[in-house]
Symmetry: C2
Subunit: 350 residues, 2 copies
Amino acid sequence: MLEDKKPQLTPISELGEFGLIKHLTENFSIKNSSTERSIGDDAAIINPEGKKVVITSDVLAEGVHFNLGYVPLKHLGYKAVVVNLSDIAAMNAVPTQILVSMAVSNRFPVEALDEIYDGIYRACEKYNVDLVGGDTTSSTSGLVITITAIGLENSENLVTRNGAKTNDLLVVTGDLGGAYMGLQILEREHSVYLANPNMQPEMEGYDYILERQLKPEARTDIKKTLEELDIKPTSMIDVSDGLASEILHLSDQSKVGFRLYEEKIPLDTLTITTADEFNLNPAMCALSGGEDYELLFTISPNDYEKLRNHPDFTVIGHAVDLEQGNFMVLRGSNELAQITAQGWDAFLKK
Amino acid sequence: MLEDKKPQLTPISELGEFGLIKHLTENFSIKNSSTERSIGDDAAIINPEGKKVVITSDVLAEGVHFNLGYVPLKHLGYKAVVVNLSDIAAMNAVPTQILVSMAVSNRFPVEALDEIYDGIYRACEKYNVDLVGGDTTSSTSGLVITITAIGLENSENLVTRNGAKTNDLLVVTGDLGGAYMGLQILEREHSVYLANPNMQPEMEGYDYILERQLKPEARTDIKKTLEELDIKPTSMIDVSDGLASEILHLSDQSKVGFRLYEEKIPLDTLTITTADEFNLNPAMCALSGGEDYELLFTISPNDYEKLRNHPDFTVIGHAVDLEQGNFMVLRGSNELAQITAQGWDAFLKK
């Protein structure tokens, strides 16, 4: 057949705008009854089924949020979805739909978009969300992916950033700093590769932190776990920019201060040993590294017993009056260091 | 004061991500009771108040959708909102919220973003929609704006693309082709300017078509007009890519064909005279020009009397069985030309 002789890579222009969207989205199936109308109309129709709608948008831009020198396109698509679902999870809502918008340089063939959409597809399958719309356009330069995620939830279950009270406990899921250390490994090995393309990258043994960076997961499981423990957080946020920055957001919105205990910050052994290799303080990686996509929340002190031995959770501090500010109690001392958006200040308060 | 000596233009990096978002959005007020929580949390919370939620996303990319050589940033912000609200109007829903995401080269100072947000603000004010979220990030190259628009509507009022029946009438609002002719003027004068920056652009007398291109409006007014006339369209779409392409979408989704009458296509006098100046067929500008953001819809033939004399509407054709295809009846003849995504084919069917 003549068709078999087509070159391996297909320029985007060959499919046209509507052909491209059809090609990229034809494998996606609808999984939620709330999705009434999906791709193919001027807008999607969602039936909120009596619930509130939560909605968020995040942009990932080439050269800023990802480097295609070492980020596989499939992982990029997956991560672009996950970072948005994480925001929905941080509202204690169930993610149900996404819209995907991309501006794509024509240096990308259709096969590259297929890879990105394969990652998006896998994320939709894993998290049970429906792709209901979006837009794909050419761009004169790099790749920009904007995803909008929608979640539905009964009003009484939603958790915002502004409900923390003095004496509430500060709790985080999972461990922190791993994504940042994974990025350090990727950047180091990419530099080595650029200097000498014959060098094999040394990634062995770093699997956990590489996965934390390249294929993070959204903690959509936590909502159910908290329900089973009969705990409703008083405030919640996801750890996308780093623990320090997120604590300051909760402080700002809830009008409380926080005391964070450095020695309580949950760190994976590999994060610690890799930080050591790079001469970094692992607590700093947790505080200012970001991209861990764990959930940070506050609970009433009365709920402490319910989660104190649960493997998903670590109590890392507590809320104080706003006037007392946001400080970290340093490891093995009573010294306090002020928490700043970048981590913490060298300035110590006794 | 020392602060007064700061340079006139502010680099984006000076404000930081959160400072920038706060700076850009602080003037926006909430106008809809459905907006329960806006910017400042992981996600916005919308109360659908028993209605269905319609949602759409559109990307505008520099160099593809706009040329900053002749598009003022304020108009760009306004238009980016309008093109999304037009999609909500095309579902016969009321737009209520938007999220704005931008990837911005650091060649843009804060003052440039202020201009864009001024346009967004004006669109929000005019159309009574709330800015509830989004994301602003730096990019390594151009400007990409992605807007997500949300609308709410009772289920029974929503109109999709797939309800047209054989013998339904095809109706369009306003006039077509003007935005495309406005673009021709802008590109001509921009070329003249590039060739000789001392030449004054000749824009006088082209106001209407320039405004159609630079500051289009979404026909959110049509919903109320149709209600007053007691008409519910059987299918609807907005004219963003050109009349021909939109007719084919309605055909594809509704499983009918269409007969379009060239002589019925509503054209402004200025569109006709300018098309003449460029040696273009004005009907071609309507069919394949796009960006008019008028609404194209079908109604039951029983509703014809209700709108036949209304100044907002023109009946331009009717639906036929799918097998009869999509054809335009040429002006002053009974000849048929096949409608294609690009306009119509030279091939004539007798």
